[in-house]
Symmetry: C2
Subunit: 141 residues, 2 copies
Amino acid sequence: MEKSSHETIELEMAFLVRRVTSMTSSSKSLGMLDRSAYLFLHHITSHGPAGVKALADEFQLDISTASRQAAALEQKEFLYRIPDPHDGRAYSLQITELGLQEYLDYKTIRINKMKTVLHEWSEDDRMKFGELLRKFNRSFR
Amino acid sequence: MEKSSHETIELEMAFLVRRVTSMTSSSKSLGMLDRSAYLFLHHITSHGPAGVKALADEFQLDISTASRQAAALEQKEFLYRIPDPHDGRAYSLQITELGLQEYLDYKTIRINKMKTVLHEWSEDDRMKFGELLRKFNRSFR
DNA sequence: ACTAATTAATTGTATTATACAACTATATAG
DNA sequence: CTATATAGTTGTATAATACAATTAATTAGT
């Protein structure tokens, strides 16, 4: 009996998460950015400043988790906060020069890892894979 | 400037891991299997009994982590161990009826989740996605 | 206008997955 | 037959997460 496409995706997804997790945790030793930190910096870099709530929503994290991540990034001086002029409770998190530098450096490392892993693939397959991954992520929201 | 395929994959991969992690952690409340447990049961179910070392290698986990996972599964009576007749240090982990049941139940839940997420996709895209995910995972080893 | 309900964020606490290091017991090689 | 390697366990630490309680500010209902 052949595996259905759903079945294959379901299984390979479990594998994938394990593999990617192990890949990122091995490089963590060298003060690397963790996954959420990377996503935060990416989001702020490409969509502009955001508050803790917005980041939590975007990444389906509990607000408390997002708050701690933001605090950690602020403490490392990768982000700084300015109070929202219209709402005394809220802050806007902005990226610092140092944060941007760190983000770009880490991104380069990640892209190079991908290049290594995918160097034998056809450009066609790589494009298709990227496209389907994006589509899959969008299907989730 | 267009994103390169590597760049797209790199970014979407970070998203994906976050999404999938959040999906599985939300269902965890109901005594669901965690990711590694699921992978262990899958592996033993489809490749036969295995020792802690083999499982650790297969999933690129530290042996201590694999040992604890195995112990947890044994404690829940999803696995049982029999001593290796040729090596007094080693054990072979086998799946119990209960473990198999749990594995199959959880698998069904996961597949159904995938069906929900992917119901608007063409079967072509689903097949291609599954295929590329498998290929990606194999590229990693 | 004033109390009630809502919201943004933080902090306390617990859990889980993980790694690394130290250790035990067995097996294999010089 | 000693020295080294291997399978597995246990101690300890860390990171990412969620949930609950709390604080301070905003918005809505009467």
